[in-house]
Symmetry: none
Subunit: 393 residues, 2 copies
């Protein structure tokens, strides 16, 4: 029951102006498939079914779908002949099981599959258009673009949707919610606030009579969001926090270096997920052991002794030391307790100190986070990137 | 309608002996949620709902779920007080919206959330157990393990499913498939070979008359898999490649240091995802810029000039240099072209050199991978860890 296609399908459908409201995954079982299809047809204007069209025993979609729709399955001899021809062409033996792929519900129209053996099909139920596509991602995508999208566009007409993701930094979910809540009233606009491991996102979708109108209204909402969130707005769509930081560094002509203890390379790995990051990222050190904080980043061993490895003082020396040793304009240092062990009443799990050093001096901040090891480390990375972004604003 | 949890949930439920037959994702809409819950309750013995329990306007699950079940929502003042206390503790302002999280359907039992603000809850409908959990993955997982799994185990009792994940290193999917194919015949056993970013996995599920019989048969299959895969078997279930390497280093009393160019901290981050990794991981350097390869890891600048930064020679010097500078028993160096830019006919995108240095000398290997930047970097990390594992066998 793995679903390789739904994110792609939802995106493509949205571009056409169709919002996917319900998605159901079921096991390869006739009853479950028939019920799911019958329910979907009842509540929707369009239904896309994927997977289970192949020649094997566990490909149950054709029969189950016909049952869900209450029609017969029929065999198409022209498709059998075409399959035989294709098998012969590639020197493969055509077995009777392959002919399963030539059955369709009565009244269905074939959707050719240039990349594979199982064709898709569509059924026009009057108010509802239903499409069945093979689950192999490449085949599904090519059939969708060639045969499904045009039929849906024709049906949808000038009604349209436009959507945009707004990425937000340095604010918690309720604060963002409060800031933009007065925009929620419009029934044609949907707001979804998502707290993800990479930060907060607000997904805005506008429904309108035409694509042009939808885009125009989305731009108006965009302006209102900029007004409400100000500097907290990191970017739109693919402009992640790491990308925003990278673009700001490039336009300022500055470079960055990292010294990481608890995040241990995760911050460097995140900034280098951005293609072309070598223009602004020089490198850094991962100083898990305390003696390496001294040897690789020049942290005074006496300071570690006095204040502990998890302290603002050590974070500051990490930032300053790595900046100097890597010859970077900005140095950032991260030290903390990621857990599950290592916490004390004084320095509990989730305590992270981050410091940022540049020509003007060194800033530091303390984060106290809840979550497991994985989450604390990821949130520390977001905190560090957000600190750089704020510095560069 | 993005779903971050279902794969994890399906796996955990399977371990308990519950197979997920239907999964539905719906938009944040009361009608859709209520309908989906009502349908799920009708056809299932257990229902897990995730997401939409937070404090914001679009967190619709509580109300919709109560409607789907046909019961009232009630506010729990004890939970409000606990939320206020937690906010005060962290110096955050408690707003009235936060109190939304203190509502539950009448008759529901709270499931505490140690990692976040929104508690989950369970409803016992007689024949059906329903659980509602927050969507934040860390919170969902901790509540599931602490509160949901025990309740389900009790209900399921002597179930007849047993499953195990086998993690495989250094083999591609068709090779694994061929090696274990003769085990596929048994109709009560399901084999799923999964190629994941973290490596190859074989999920084996056995259905039997009793849990004991299922476990016994699974152990027999386990022995057969050990026989077929030999050293390629990394571990079972939660024993990931990084954990296996960590355990091997601990029992050998050895430490590790990393010098990374194209993976830029991802390898260090992966080994330190393992709790307690400070016992065997000392630290490392991220040497994106060429002059840092020299300054931080002692790579001869003339060697970079002659052979290029992406070369076996540089990987070897990175491994040797970082081993010495970090005072580790093993040093590993990684350099390559992650793309999308930077490839040449001679050194195409996907080319990665890895070297491993220890007391006995230095080994190197070359990988040529296909995929995008993200995938190439992740596969390089797997390649490096697998190289360490092989060395320690």
């Amino acid at each position: 029951m793995r679903d390789a296609n739904s994110e792609w399908l939802c995106r493509r459908l949205l571009e056409i102006g169709i919002r996917v409201k319900v998605r159901t995954d079921v096991e390869d079982d006739d009853d479950l498939i028939a019920t799911a299809v019958a329910q979907a047809v009842k509540r929707s204007a369009a239904v896309v079914v994927s997977g289970g069209l192949g020649p094997t025993e566990d490909d149950r979609t054709r029969a189950a779908l016909a049952r869900g729709l209450g029609v017969e399955l029929e065999r198409d001899e022209a498709v059998v002949a075409e399959l035989e021809r294709r098998f012969a062409q590639r020197g493969r033996r055509f077995t009777p099981e392959q002919a399963r792929q030539a059955y369709r519900p009565r009244g269905a129209e074939w959707l050719p599959n240039p990349l594979g053996t199982a064709p898709g099909f569509s059924v026009d139920l009057g108010g509802v258009l239903l499409f069945a596509l093979p689950g192999v991602p490449g085949e599904l995508k090519s059939i969708f673009d060639a045969s499904v999208a045009p039929r849906l566009r024709e049906r949808v007409g000038e009604h349209a949707l436009a959507s945009r993701v707004f990425r937000v930094g340095g604010k918690i979910e309720p604060a963002v919610d409060t800031a933009i809540r007065d925009l929620y009233d419009d029934p044609d606009v949907t707001f979804t606030v998502l707290a993800r491991a990479t930060g907060l996102e607000v997904l805005v979708t506008v429904e309108a009579e035409s694509a042009r109108e939808a885009r125009g209204r989305l731009d108006a909402i965009d302006a209102a969001i900029v007004d409400r969130l100000g500097d907290a707005l990191i970017g739109r769509d693919d402009r992640t926090l790491a990308r925003a930081v990278g673009e700001m560094l490039v336009s300022a002509g500055l470079t960055l270096a990292t010294a990481e203890s608890c995040t241990a390379g995760l911050l460097a790995a995140e900034v280098t997920e951005v293609p072309g990051s070598s223009r602004w990222f020089r490198g850094g050190v991962v100083v898990y052991a305390n003696d390496l904080k001294t040897d690789l980043a020049g942290v005074d061993a006496a300071v570690i002794e006095t204040h502990g490895a998890v302290s603002a003082e050590v974070a500051r020396m990490l930032a300053e030391g790595v900046r100097e040793r890597c010859g970077a304009d900005l140095g950032i240092g991260v030290t903390g307790v990621a857990g599950p062990g290592g916490g004390t009443p004084d320095k509990p799990v989730g305590r992270v100190h981050i410091a940022l050093s540049d020509d003007d001096g060194t800033l530091d901040r303390r984060l106290d986070m809840i979550g497991d090891r994985r989450l604390i480390r990821r949130r520390a990375v977001i905190g560090a990137l957000e600190m750089i972004r704020r510095r560069l604003l």
